[in-house]
């Protein structure tokens, strides 16, 4: 189990007060806080061995290259990728998905081919495919979810067929928290020769995800949601797929031989990393991965299940709190979407902010989902390793404060 008290001391942000109150940070689904070791890793690179990587002959350039490529190995180990060369660094999950849309999909998807998504996708896994459909004439299909927030697998079986080229689905919903049965869907897709992309932005930081367990072909996730810095995303795919894909961005680093009118491409993974990479942030992501591995992802998951169970229980006792998504903490991530009475979520967030409580509100980059839920937005509390039951209690008190301000009775 996680000793939250000692672990919180690793995160300097919890030393500060917000409006005179200790910070209750319930927005890790948007971005996680950073432990001191990650902040130190950035500082250390810039102070001690700041140099461009890969072609430097001198000592600090070699140190920087080793640290950068070392981070790639750490990320590969973290998701049990067969080899580090299958880890491509991008800017974020969104860019990782766009990379696939502009290379593999651009090359393989034709008019009338089908891309299967779900109704619970983040805009980052909707818009790249809308753009692809506009470019290629591909058809988009969406697996619906039911009133409890679970995907309709019968509909998925109907939808995935001979015309399906790609199934691109979120592993854990950033709003409902639903953990989707990715492997089952991947097997369906593979039966029909389609590839499978998994948006792991909300799962890789929390569950101990391995590419073998998912049986997917592409996995995309972001550093900043897993204790690492902003500005780094990851795309994993299998070597044979990556090798057959055309390059994404062109420039230095991604090349083999360059002539004035043609060029050859570098080996994996550098074929997809044009220009000077985000060296410092990648190195610090490596440190974040070490930190998580030391805690153990089973412990991370167990902590979040316990906290989610407690929060669902406490919020469930509030008669005027409307909860969205699964109620089973085993089948959802540490994400709880809710509304209080008929209040707009922005009003709720503004008032609890004055109590030092950070929750996210609005459509959470899931406008089609909000339309289906028939709400303009929701409030959302999301948890990570540093959250405690006390944070949940403070949120419950904050909701009381909201009721007082609006002069509404509980219930």
């Amino acid at each position: 189990m996680i000793e939250t008290k000692t672990l919180r001391a690793d995160f300097p942000i919890f030393e500060r007060l917000v409006h005179g109150k200790p910070l209750v940070y319930l927005d890790s689904a948007a971005t996680s806080q950073k432990p001191q070791v990650v902040i130190d890793a950035l500082d250390d690179y810039y102070r001690r061995y700041n140099a461009n990587i890969h072609r430097g002959i001198y000592t600090i350039a070699e140190e920087a290259t080793q640290a950068y490529e070392g981070a790639r190995q750490k990320v590969a180990d973290f998701i049990r990728a067969p080899e580090a060369a299958e880890i491509i660094f991008t800017r974020n999950t969104t860019e990782s998905i766009n990379l696939v849309a502009y290379t593999w999909a651009q090359q393989n998807v034709r008019v009338g081919d089908e891309i299967v998504l779900t109704e619970m996708e983040h805009h980052s896994n909707l818009i790249p495919w809308i753009l692809l459909a506009e470019r290629t004439g591909a058809v988009l299909k969406h697996i619906p979810f039911d009133s409890d927030g679970y995907l309709d697998l019968d509909a998925a079986r109907q939808m995935i067929g001979e015309r399906t080229k790609l199934v691109s689905i979120v592993h854990a919903s950033n709003v409902l928290g639903t953990i989707n049965p990715v492997r089952e869907i991947a097997r369906l897709a593979h039966e029909h020769g389609a590839l499978v992309l998994v948006d792991g932005a909300q799962s890789v930081p929390h569950f101990g995800v391995t590419v073998a367990d998912l049986e997917c072909d592409f996995l995309a996730f972001s550093s900043h949601k897993m204790l690492g810095p902003t500005g780094v995303g990851v795309l994993w795919s299998r070597r044979e797929i990556l090798e057959a894909m055309p390059p994404f961005l062109g420039g230095s680093e991604m090349i083999g031989q360059v002539y004035l009118d043609h060029a050859t491409w570098n080996e994996l993974p550098w074929k997809f990393e044009a220009g000077t990479e985000n060296i410092a942030d990648v190195i610090a992501l490596g440190t974040a991965v070490d930190y998580l591995a030391r805690i153990g992802m089973d412990n991370v998951r167990a902590h979040e299940i316990e906290l989610t169970e407690y929060a669902l229980e406490r919020l469930g006792e509030e008669p005027d709190v409307h909860l969205y998504g699964p109620r089973d903490p085993q089948r959802k991530g540490g994400v709880i979407a809710f509304n209080l009475a008929d209040l707009h979520s922005h009003d709720v967030a503004s008032i609890v902010d004055r109590d030092g409580i950070a929750i996210r509100v609005g459509h959470h980059c899931c406008q089609p989902m909000m339309r289906k839920l028939e709400v303009p937005g929701t409030a959302r509390a999301s948890f990570y390793i540093y959250n405690t039951r006390d944070d949940v209690d403070r949120l419950i008190e904050g909701l009381d404060h909201v009721r007082q301000v609006f002069g509404i009775a509980r219930g």
Partner: protein, 144 residues
């Protein structure tokens, strides 16, 4: 205090709006959507003899949007449409920090406290911008 903002400025109008609803014979209409927070608002005005006779609004938004729209409807009644862009600019200046603008705005000046909630400034401004757009596009067909 957050309570002050809500108690003094927002709550009366949010809970008992005077100008919410459709407007018969509107001849200026605009709708706006704030993609960041999902708020939607429609503002309708009836302009007669070169003056704003009446304004009404409908919105899917937070209490600040509602309160701002409702107080705006009072404030602009009887004014000339040409004067509205300057008024909207003054509301914008107030929300950006100008006490002078806030003092010049009379009752609307109570919205100056929204400044302390930077994320909410756009909520207070949304009805005003939408009214200005409606008047600028007046005589054209209402948009969905």
């Amino acid at each position: 205090m957050v309570d002050d903002l809500y108690r003094r400025v927002v709550l009366d109008r949010y809970q008992a709006p005077v100008h919410r609803g459709p407007l018969a014979d509107a001849n200026a209409t605009a709708s706006a959507h704030n993609p960041l927070c999902g708020d939607e608002i429609t503002v309708r005005a009836r302009v007669e003899d070169g003056h704003i006779a009446e304004v009404a609004w409908e919105a899917l938004g937070c209490s600040i949007v509602h309160a701002s729209a409702d107080m705006m409807a009072d404030e602009v009644q009887g004014r000339q449409p040409d004067a509205i862009p300057e008024l909207v600019a003054r509301v914008g200046a107030m929300l950006a920090g100008s006490d002078e603008a806030a003092d010049a705005l009379g009752e609307i000046g109570v919205f100056r406290s929204v400044r302390r909630y930077p994320a909410r400034v756009k909520c207070a401004l949304l009805p005003w911008k939408t009214l200005a757009e409606a008047l600028a596009a007046s005589h054209s067909e209402p948009r969905a």
